[in-house]
């Protein structure tokens, strides 16, 4: 392995000169998109019109049908234009493939971050910045919603627009922020953590990133459709979304396909990377818990995501091809949609949470200067959640009119998930116990996560207990619950991860004071915004309404004011990130004195991560153990006169 890593530097071909003049139209890049987008659009629209003309359907040029087809053809045009398929296409057609000159590796200027790049560190940053963009977009939509909800009655938007706002808000936050933000951090950190030079499939990695902005702009772009954005919630229930809503619904159904494809590719890439590319000596029981978490998450992604793809295709076919999967009048089964949808979307809750568990484990162990408490049980509880996660989907459907016997077993399995989750929470607490706590920003966010996630988990107990769920499902209680889990849980750990690895990614330190300010603003704003939602939900305020009874007016005013403060806290975060990235103090290689491998290389890491492949010799969290090492490098070995088998 050592030899291979060295070869990389010596054998690579000279970089190709950049294209000039008209050649820019054929070289991969945005200029070529000017060519490929019209070609792909034209072929799609042309074929459609030809078929309609031959069949005698009028009008031949049908805007609705063309829009639907274009949601496939234009993204393909973009991907071909920027060069996402170049290598494979040459290979497939028997043309000589471009020699790997590593011009698509590493980020030398800011321009490299706007091109196809195969370096996992560049892709990680591309991913992260893109997802934060969509976090801001989704957050702004939420601000408009809270403005409307500040007072009863209608003020700023009409009902259809409001329904579009919360639908796009949820879809962006789930499919374009939480899921890919964890993929972003994983992309950057996982190869480093396991001692690998890159992901297993760098070109696939690049492609899976570029599908994301496509999905995101498709969902955002649905606001420009004549009859408004998709307005059936991120759940897109049939038959409402399949046949009873305007064209915007297709933008959701296709957007989910692109985001889902991206997820699946990334998941596969993580699985193969983790299984095959660990450094010598890195057994499964020596992997950091974030690697374990990404491993289980990737299994969930690969197994479950095809189900949501299917549910959205079926719903879309009901509209555009006049199939009748969910049309009861034609023998369809409306509840079938929910079963297929939740068979993905419940495991998706864990896709959005397990990587956060991993980040919390890293941060809490390092910042408490203690080994993680009960390492093996921590890893096994991830696997337990993975398995149990597939047996609980119908708890989203307790009031949907499913077979009544099915509710009891689904309730029991849902409640049992509290056991492995509890193991994790108690183990984090025990890790902190008698430690030497460093309350830096990542640790604050990790602790904020533990306490807020406990609240979200406990409200989950109420929702799993069928009789209570019957009373409170589809109310603001559920809105409170999902935000405690996805904001207090996922987003807090994403913030913890961003602050924790910021020095590694940028080579500079963030401003600690601003980081702490950001934490406290977020923590207080979050609780004042979302905790009262439990109350108004139980008392009778349904979710997904632009107007409500005047008796909830005061609470909603308070919630809106707090949510604006919460929104404003993001400005502190952005300011800190941008200014620190530009002119923060240079970061040392290992500012947190961590043992895991990503901190044993320079900040930012060298282009192929490790100048020599590390030899892993122990667990990743052996803090306080006399003379313990997680890994040794050649230089260390020589000095310590140790004999370690070399691969």
């Amino acid at each position: 392995m050592t030899a291979i890593a060295a070869d990389h530097h010596e054998l690579h071909a000279a970089p190709r000169p950049p294209a000039r003049g008209w050649r820019r139209l054929t070289a991969a890049g945005y200029f070529r998109c000017l060519l490929t987008i019209p070609i792909f659009f034209g072929v799609g629209a042309g074929l459609m019109s030809l078929v309609r003309w031959l069949e005698g359907w009028h009008p031949v040029w049908n805007g609705t049908v063309i829009t639907t087809i274009s949601l496939t053809t234009i993204p393909l045009g973009v991907l071909v234009g920027i060069g996402g398929f170049d290598y494979w296409m040459r290979y497939a057609f028997g043309a000589p493939t471009a020699p790997e000159d590593h011009s698509g590796h590493g980020g030398k200027t800011w321009r490299d971050y706007f091109r196809i790049n195969t370096d996992h560190k560049v892709i990680g940053v591309q991913y992260l910045v893109t997802t934060i963009f969509f976090l801001l977009a989704g957050g702004l939509l939420a601000m408009i919603m809270r403005a409307e909800l500040a007072r009863p009655g209608m003020q700023f938007v009409d009902n259809q627009t409001y329904n579009g706002l919360f639908s796009v808000h949820a879809s962006l936050m789930i499919f374009l922020f939480v899921i890919p933000a964890f993929a972003a951090l994983g992309n950057y950190v996982i190869p480093l953590m396991i001692g690998a030079p890159d992901m297993a499939f760098p070109r696939l990695n690049a492609l899976s990133f570029w599908l994301l902005p496509i999905a995101g702009f498709m969902m955002l772009g649905s606001f420009l459709v004549p009859e408004g954005a998709f307005a059936c919630g991120w759940t897109g229930y049939a038959p409402l979304c399949s046949t009873h809503q305007p064209l915007g619904a297709v933008f959701f159904q296709m957007g989910v396909q692109w985001a889902g494809a991206s997820s699946i590719m990334t998941g596969l890439n993580f699985l193969v990377t983790i299984i095959t590319m660990r450094a010598p000596g890195m057994t499964f029981w020596r992997m950091p818990l974030l690697v374990w978490a990404n491993f289980t998450t990737s299994l969930l992604v690969v197994i479950a995501t095809p189900f949501i793809a299917a549910s959205q295709f079926f719903a879309m076919f009901d509209r555009v091809l006049h199939t009748s999967f969910f049309d009861f009048a034609q023998g369809g089964y409306p509840l079938g949609y929910q079963h297929i949808f939740w068979f993905y979307s419940h495991p998706a809750v864990y896709i959005m949470m397990l990587p956060g568990f991993g980040i919390a484990s890293e941060v809490i162990a390092v910042m408490s200067r203690k080994p993680i408490f009960g390492y093996r049980l921590m890893a096994l509880s991830l696997m337990a959640i993975l398995v149990l996660g597939f047996s609980v989907w119908a708890h989203h459907m307790f009031v949907a009119g499913i077979a009544s016997w099915l509710r009891v077993p689904m309730m029991v399995t849902s409640l049992v998930i509290a056991v492995p989750t509890g193991i994790k929470v108690f183990s984090w607490l025990a890790t902190m116990w008698e430690g030497k706590l460093n309350l830096a920003t990542p640790m604050l966010f990790a602790l904020g996560f533990v306490s807020m996630f406990v609240v979200g988990g406990l409200s989950g107990i109420y929702l799993a207990a069928v009789p209570i769920d019957i009373a409170v499902s589809d109310t603001y209680f559920v809105v409170a619950h999902i935000h405690y889990v996805l904001f207090g849980g996922s987003l807090f750990t994403i913030f913890a991860g961003i602050y924790y690895w910021f020095p590694k990614m940028t080579g500079r330190m963030y401003n600690e004071k601003l980081g702490k300010l950001h934490f406290w603003l977020t923590f207080v704003g979050f609780n004042v915004t979302f905790f009262p939602m439990h109350l108004i939900g139980i008392q009778g305020m349904p979710r997904r309404v632009a107007d409500f009874e005047p008796r909830f007016g005061d609470w909603n005013m308070l919630i809106s004011i707090a949510s604006f403060a919460l929104g404003a806290s993001t400005i502190v975060f952005l300011y800190n990130m941008i200014t620190s990235w530009i002119r923060g103090p240079l970061a040392p290689a290992n500012p947190w004195r961590s043992m895991t491998l990503e901190w044993q290389v320079s900040s930012p890491p060298p282009i192929f991560n490790f100048d020599e492949i590390p030899q892993v010799v122990g667990g990743p969290y052996e803090y306080g153990v006399e003379g313990a090492r997680h890994a040794v490098f050649n230089g260390d070995r020589a000095s310590e006169h140790e004999k370690v088998p070399v691969h």
């Binding site: 038959p239 009873h244 009048a329 409306p334 203690k370 056991v419 030497k436 349904p542 997904r544």
Partner: protein, 329 residues
Amino acid sequence: MVAVGLALSAAAFAVAFFVPWLPENASKERDGIDFLFWFTTIICIGIFALVTAVILYSVVKFRARPDDDSDGPPIHGNTKLEIIWTAVPAVLVIAISIVSGVVLARNDRIPSDALRVEVTGEQFAWSFKYPDAKNLASGGVLRLPRGRPVRLLISAKDVIHSFWVPEFGQKLDALPGSVNQLKITPTKLGTYSVICTELCGVGHALMRSEAIVMPPAKFDAWLRKQRTDMGQGGETAGKAVYANNGCGACHTFRPAGSKAGVGPDLDKLPAQASRAGEPLEEFVRESIVRPNAYVEPGFASGLMPQNYGEQLEGDQLDSLVRFLSEGAK
């Protein structure tokens, strides 16, 4: 740490008991739900206080001094502790499962002599029918006798809706193409909101109606009166049709005693007819049968159900049109 934990529990209990969390209890089913709610709350407060107390105590007690670069004690685990915090939560969730199962079984059991009511959801209104009383339609208002179990037969015409009355605690989706059953036993007289809780389209937030719980004798008298009113002609019949089809859930109309602002004010029908440029009676008939033909400024098109033309029988439509046109003059 114990002190921190106790203080937190006390604070949480204070929030739980001094804030009125639960809505008014107006049904027998709500009893079980409320009991389960408090049962779960006590367990949850204990867990929340424990976790938060450990975090707060650790943050204060184990915080490293700025110059302290040493590590903590290398404790890798403790089998006894790990067994305890696996077993205790397991026992607690099993206890919650058992209580839930018992409450659910009770709330699900519908006696065979229960009063049957057909509940139908459509974009964006509820309608209610009494199959035990010659299929009398009570329109947009659900009237129930106090103390008698009711079997709601819930379905939908177009998309999925969901029937909910917070004070009754029970909720169930209305699915197109199938009938779901729900039991409610009202225990308190009063008027409650019927709320659609499943997103059903542009008018979802406005899809509301009323449930009125009446003394049994009054309920029977109301049923009888409805049946005779329906048989008569003239204004009484029109008024009954108006009430039975839930017009009053969305419209204000003084002769019928209804006050609601979702749809246009029907006391101003003549002015609206002249804006539409049509004679009053024709305008009223058209607006019932094809509500989108003329939409009053300030109101959204597509909110009013578009199938009243099929739903109302010919003479019912005639008497409703007469009632509205004459009442508004």
